[in-house]
Amino acid sequence: MGEYLTLLFATIFVNNMVLSRFLGLCPFMGVSKKLEPAIGMGLATAFVLTLASVCSYLANEYLLQPFGLEYLKTVTFILVIAVIVQGTEMVLRKTSPLLHSVLGIYLPLITTNCAVLGIALLNVQEDNNFVRSALYGFGGATGFTLVMVLFASIRERLELADVPESFRGAPIALMTAGLMSVAFMGFAGMA
């Protein structure tokens, strides 16, 4: 259990997906202008990412490797992800139409989120097993959500700040991400 908690802590804070692994930056920059969408995107990503992490692990371990097809992992993973996204969309629409209409818009965006593919590939690289894959995905996604929500809340505050003209918009957002990354270095060495 301790090992799992450490893994979770490490993926959420120490090796934060966005701030130290550089994954999922496009939605991080794109869907963080307002708080609510950021929460929605974060939750949706958490779901898909964890599932994708597990499924691509299974696909790799029990389909590709036995047949020596590792070189197809990128293609396979991206298809797995696309299918998971679509499946989630369908299930969500059936079980909770309202959530679907409020949060469902973020689902298709996730397919091109390199975090999802990145985690799947890192799983292979780090030789994770089933449980570790799940935790790896979950932790990474939680870290992603956390950072994105914080980032969005700060960006909302920046909207009215007297930022120098050239820095308005993307530059100050990136600068903020950089400074957040400095702050997150405080977790260094903790796992």
């Binding site: 990128t74 293609v75 397919t111 100050i172 600068m175 950089g178």
Partner: protein
């Protein structure tokens, strides 16, 4: 205007609609592998190749793609192209491949690529699409290299360190050392430095654009009564 189409494609890709600076797409590889100029160059070239090839393929088969499933089709095409490039890099540029890590396969999810396929290649002819892919890729690669150069200078005090990774052992002479006993501003090569450097580059671009805009506005204002141009 048609003779200008190619010119437009070029300025669009390199400046006005630069994928990295304006559209803010493909940020992950941009920030992750730009700690040195050579790394940036390596991934930039790979991305450029992918963009060009996918645009070419998509444009040439665009007539046969079923509208409803065009997106999954694009995804498959891109994934295959990237995998091919990945395999070739692994075979022939192994050292560089190792440095770039998972960011080579991650070109698949570089939003810019599917974006160009959808927005340009599926609507234009092969020549234009290929040019568009090439130029968009070049625009991306240039930013990557530029960012790499800045971070490398600040962080290591060198330019083109590790050129041998890409070009073979002879290229280690290409490395230019600007300050030999330079401690290095570690920040520049750490994650925060990547964000901050890109922030400064984009701010610079904004500034240049604004200055240019003001200049052209001034030029126009001779003819037209001045309008308050508060963007």
């Amino acid at each position: 205007m048609s003779d200008n189409v190619y010119g437009d494609i070029v300025t669009n890709g390199l400046w006005t609609n630069n994928q990295a600076l304006v559209a803010l797409l493909g940020l992950c590889p941009l920030l992750a592998v730009s700690s040195t100029a050579i790394n940036g160059l390596g991934l930039g070239v790979a991305t450029m190749a992918t963009l060009t090839l996918t645009n070419l393929i998509v444009a040439s088969i665009r007539r046969w793609i079923l509208q409803e499933i065009r997106i999954p089709m694009f995804v498959i095409i891109i994934a295959c192209v990237v995998t091919a490039i990945e395999l070739l890099m692994n075979a022939h540029l192994h050292d560089l491949y190792r440095v770039l890590g998972i960011f080579v396969p991650l070109i698949v999810t570089n939003c810019a690529i599917i974006g160009r396929a959808e927005a340009f290649a599926s609507k234009n002819n092969v020549v234009r699409s290929t040019l568009d892919g090439l130029v968009m890729g070049l625009g991306f690669a240039l930013v990557l290299v530029f960012l790499g150069i800045i971070r490398e200078i600040l962080g290591y005090g060198t330019i083109f360190r590790g050129a041998e990774l890409m070009l073979g052992p002879w290229a280690s002479d290409l490395t230019i050392t600007l300050a030999s006993n330079y401690d290095g501003l570690l920040l520049a090569i750490l994650p925060p430095g990547a964000f901050m450097a890109l922030a400064v580059i984009i701010a610079l671009k904004n500034k240049i654009d604004r200055v240019q805009q003001r200049r052209s506005a001034n030029a126009v204002s001779v003819a037209v009564p001045l309008q308050s141009s508060r963007a």
